[in-house]
């Protein structure tokens, strides 16, 4: 914890010391779970489940999905506990509950560990221990490998750390089928390959924020031009990878169209980001790529959900 974070939390710490009671509200504890990230985890996990067409009790599938969501929330909570010092100096994160002084670091740590233990245990009981082990590994990878180790030490932080964000479909498939198959591994690969262009587009816009916090994001270490090239390189790999579900037979006609058009859109914006390097237009197009990348991933997974969950599947091959 740095001095700024300490000074921000001082008044609540004093209050906690006087009363022995937490000063956080329910909404503050909920914010520790990173609800928007949790939604993405649930969404991608749900798709991992439906593409498997499992023969599983719906109650157990629902509980499994809920526990994957809670596990995702626990990761976010433990990440906020560890990163409270850098959250306090970044404009995007300084209002989070710990740097804002609403919740003490120790409370967040206890909350996060309790949720981790609870989610892994109940997922194991509701589904199987392979899924529970994968969930535990995902939380460990995000908190220890990404947050504690990679984030502050290498510009490849979000590339390797992206594996944690890509694992929910794999965990979900393991939960409802008892094994991991190639279709969830392909979904993992799509999210994994999507992460660098997504986060580096944001890092180009917010590079001064990351600079101030001392996080070695790619634009701050290798420079904006190298980052632009790497965004383009990853996008060149991502666009065809997004169409692999069609080749494997679990992406139907609608998915083929969405992944083709979306992939071309990503490529067009990545080329623009690579070409426009100065001033306001460069920032604007990076911001556009960041926004479009969210839409792209959402549409890919929403289309798979519609095809497999709501009967819109029309095979392209065979």
């Amino acid at each position: 914890m740095n001095t700024l974070s300490n000074s921000l939390t001082e008044s609540h710490a004093e209050s906690l010391d006087r009363t022995g009671l937490s000063q956080g509200d329910v909404s503050d504890f909920f914010a520790l779970l990173k609800p928007r990230v949790m939604f993405l985890v649930v969404f991608t996990a749900l798709v991992g489940m439906v593409v498997s067409h499992p023969d599983v009790n719906p109650v157990l599938a629902f509980v499994s999905l809920l526990m994957i969501a809670v596990g995702g929330g626990a990761s976010g909570c433990l990440n906020m506990w560890w990163d409270a010092d850098i959250d306090a100096v970044m404009t995007r994160t300084r209002k989070r509950p710990i740097p804002a002084g609403k919740i003490q670091p120790g409370e967040a740590l206890a909350f996060g560990l309790s949720l981790t233990a609870g989610s892994v245990l109940i997922l194991g009981l509701a589904s199987n221990w392979l899924a529970a082990g994968l969930l535990a590994f995902t939380i460990f990878f995000y908190v220890v490998i990404y947050s504690m180790w990679l984030k502050r030490s290498t510009p490849q932080n979000i590339v390797i750390g992206g594996a944690a964000g890509a694992l929910p479909p794999v965990v979900a498939q393991a939960a409802v089928t008892g094994h991991v198959a190639w279709d969830s591994i392909v979904l993992f690969a799509i999210i994994f390959m999507w992460t660098p262009p997504h986060f580096w587009a944001l890092a180009l816009v917010k590079s001064s924020d990351y600079e101030r916090a001392g996080i070695p994001m790619m634009p701050n270490v290798a420079g904006p031009d190298s980052t632009r090239f790497q965004i383009l390189a990853y996008t060149v790999l991502l666009a065809p990878l997004g169409m692999v579900p069609v080749a494997m037979g679990f992406g139907g006609l609608a998915y083929a169209i969405v992944s083709l058009v979306g992939g071309l859109g990503m490529l067009a914006l990545a080329i623009q980001v690579y070409r426009l390097r100065q001033g306001e237009p460069a920032m604007r197009v990076a911001q556009q790529l960041f926004g479009f990348s969210i839409l792209y991933l959402f549409l890919l997974f929403a289309t798979l959900l519609a095809e497999h969950g709501f009967g819109f599947f029309h095979p392209v091959l065979g």
């Binding site: 209050s15 010391d17 006087r18 009363t19 022995g20 009671l21 937490s22 000063q23 956080g24 509200d25 329910v26 504890f29 009790n57 109650v59 157990l60 509980v63 809920l66 609870g118 109940i122 009981l125 509701a126």
Partner: protein, 53 residues
């Protein structure tokens, strides 16, 4: 609770927050009980209730 709390009166805002935390904790524990019951029935199947007395 230790002696440090004996002379301190919670402000109305602190009391409100504590009440909301208590309700949330109670609801969470209730949901946990329901989930564990549902998992048990789903795992064992409805026939578990059909047994000679």
């Amino acid at each position: 609770m230790t002696d440090r709390n004996s002379s301190y009166r919670l402000t109305p805002e602190e009391q409100q927050r504590r009440r909301r935390r208590s309700i949330a904790l109670g609801l969470t524990l209730g949901i946990l009980c329901i989930l564990l019951f549902a998992i048990t029935i789903a795992k064992l199947g409805p026939q578990v209730l059909n047994r000679p007395l």
